[in-house]
Point group: C2
Chain length 437, copies 2
């Protein structure tokens, strides 16, 4: 019966991420054996690993064997290097062999995410034989909703859904009902691409093939939902201008987080130092027309903001495959149009601001119209430059085989700050020549 | 047989997003009937809608009926208002009734994502009866991998997986093998929460219950992968400082994109104008010590960068449920520690920069040590303030029932720019009093 009350394991899972590590361990130990057996396989890999490390060898064996091999491999990859051999040794021989194969793959490719256990059928089986055969395999498998039809060399011939078997005549052959053209991943396929394959194919399982089209394992869609979240988190953190944390905010050590943020902050700081160098070239202009200095933050940060919008848009579109590298010039044209329009729009606001302010309190002096004009032209220039630089940088990084998400908002802002100063003072020198300068 | 060649429908799908709308239509029309019937259901909703609008009424009927009701409802929601009634009228009565029910839900809640077609069983059925009954239902359903056991009033009693039926004795009753405590969504549950429920439960289907625990429909995991991507895209675009585009970059009209970017840019511009106001208060100081102006962009943008890191981290952690509102003070403490460390780190770089530069070319004058000290103290101040403001703003927005992702990197940078100027000039006034000022 569906009961109204929620079980303690459910409650603990829903609160899990918000608890401190010590509290988690305490609450986990309070669960019944049933409760902890229910909770453990559903926890994230990091939490499983941290729990396991607090247990003795016998307990480790029990808990580890509860997980499917792909989850065990993941857990071992997330554990400290000096613990890995010991964790592996806590496994049964058969499981250890499976896990060791998975550990040869990088953890962010299809081979590293797949499970080596899947339902197999032979093409010459009848539906009746296939059902009997699947029943035998079922206890060792996560799911038999989809079985793969293999030849003797383990090459993929097709896929059969349990539903197909179930709705077909019992004497029909497997080869007659199988789907010969099912979608598949390759061992080295990036997990982000696998996620898109799932999203496109609407399948719940994908086979993973090696170069000879032999089936090495299967990927279940539930493993891939987590991938979608992980990849988005990584991109978001990079866009925010830091290294990806690779763990929940509260669980990363303070020192480790400072290092991951400090690295990029220092790089950006060194880049931003160029603004001081650029400014020192315009020291004379500032001395002659202090009014110019007043608008420096406004002008350069507006350029930074428009660059940050453009880079974020393009990074995400590249990640989703909506834009490809060769589309760069179409993007460039759009951004020129968008940058010009936005620049004129903001430029007019800036122009109006100075003219209106002057009529209230005349702080901008007799040449306020020229100052307002300088403002307008500079804003058009920096917003246009920001949009172009922000949109092209992800392409350039992709071209250099770097992650386009590194073209973070702060990175682009820094780039645009330096250029923005040059644009601003150049415009000012031209417009105010002979009057203020 | 699994063939090496890829079918034209496959090729077209893989290139779809990168093609221009006109090119898509042309290539779609070139497909065989079989090919287009294969491609159409797999396209994204927007593309399906745009294709449909180019077809006549008879064709619309054929193509629309090919989709499950939840996809039809989605498509109608994405179509222009004046076309909706006509699209609905192209449906069979039975399908139209199903779709109309779905259209009463918001599109971002469980009710709006669910399909009303699912496999049903009665608790008193034997496994043998259940199999016969499911076979009858199968042709009308997307999947019978999971069936729901209902009482006469449609209340959920439990779930039965096809795999369970398949591995059980044929005379056992459904009520004896069903899972009574299966996870479920409620009609009004946010789709982001549904996605997490899938990720946690590792199920491929979730039932959707109304307030009386009656089953109204089911959600399949493939519909939810798209949700994970959509929500991440929305958050990323907001973090980049604009309204969410709600469509691929290349497909949004130029004018619409400019409006979505221009709105936030103008808000940020108005906020950033406060920097000019703040600066005008310090005009005297700048006139007396132009050297101060040189470091304005460096100081304020460093504050902005640290704020942007903090806000991005917290927005994502809140979205993933790693942090809850009540954790704000723990976050605040961490950010004070991180902000102080990072501030001292960058402050030392800034200090060193001025001292070393001075020994090469003495442009900072006789009081360069005091200028360097001003730099150090200001950087500690702005980085600390940036980290605190950036991390707390998402909490404040959540508290005001606004989307925390609106605490975008540019928004925080603008906030920190204004405050950064005040910090910088206040520090300078104190340290340089009696010397440069």
């Amino acid at each position: 019966m569906l009961t109204g009350s929620i079980r303690p394991a459910e409650v603990l899972r829903s609160e899990w991420h918000a608890l401190r590590p010590k509290e988690r361990l305490r609450r986990f130990r309070q669960l019944t054996t049933e409760g902890s057996a229910e909770l453990f396989p559903k926890l994230d890999t990091r939490s499983q690993m941290l729990l396991l490390l607090t247990l003795n060898r016998g307990e480790r064996h029990v808990w580890l064997q509860m997980l499917p091999p792909d989850d065990i491999a993941d857990l071992i990859l997330h554990s400290p290097r000096d613990q890995r051999a010991e964790l592996l040794s806590a496994l049964d021989d058969r499981v250890r062999a499976e896990v060791e194969v998975l550990l040869t793959y990088r953890s962010d490719v299809a081979g590293g995410v797949m499970s080596p256990r899947f339902a197999r059928l032979r093409p010459e089986h009848t539906v009746d034989e296939a059902i009997t055969y699947l029943r035998q395999q079922a206890p060792n498998l996560e799911s038999v909703d989809c079985a793969y039809v293999l030849d003797e060399q383990q090459h993929l011939l097709g896929a059969v859904f349990l539903q197909d078997l179930f709705c077909s005549d019992r004497t029909v052959k497997v080869s007659d009902i199988m789907h010969g053209d099912c979608a598949y991943a390759t061992e080295a396929m990036d997990q982000e691409k696998v996620a898109q394959l799932f999203s496109d194919s609407k399948l719940h399982t994908l086979p993973v093939l090696d170069a000879e089209r032999r089936v090495k394992g299967v990927i279940n869609v539930d493993d891939i939902i987590d991938v979608a979240y992980e990849e988005a988190t990584e991109d978001i953190q990079k866009i925010g201008g830091m290294e990806a944390l690779d763990a929940p905010y509260m669980e990363v050590g303070l020192w480790q987080m400072i290092r991951k943020r400090g690295g990029w902050l220092a790089v950006l700081f060194l880049g931003e130092m160029l603004t001081a160098t650029a400014m020192s070239h315009y020291e004379r202009q500032i001395e002659e027309a202090v009014v110019l200095a007043l608008f420096i933050p406004l002008v350069i940060s507006t350029g930074g903001n428009s660059g940050s919008q453009a880079t974020t848009l393009i990074i995400r579109s590249l990640a989703l495959g909506e834009i490809r590298l060769k589309d760069w010039w179409r993007v460039a044209w759009r951004e020129v149009a968008a940058g010009l329009s936005l620049g004129v729009f903001l430029g007019l606001i800036g122009f109006a601001r100075i003219v209106i302010w002057q009529s209230v309190s005349p702080i901008y002096g007799e040449y306020y119209m020229l100052v307002a004009l300088t403002m307008f032209a500079s804003l058009v220039g920096v917003v246009l430059f920001g949009s172009i630089a922000g949109s092209m940088l992800p392409f350039i990084l992709t071209l250099c085989r770097l992650d386009p998400a590194s073209a973070s908002a702060p990175f682009v802002a820094t780039l645009v700050d330096v250029t923005g100063l040059i644009i601003y003072f150049t415009v000012a020198t031209i417009i105010l020549h002979g009057t203020l300068l």
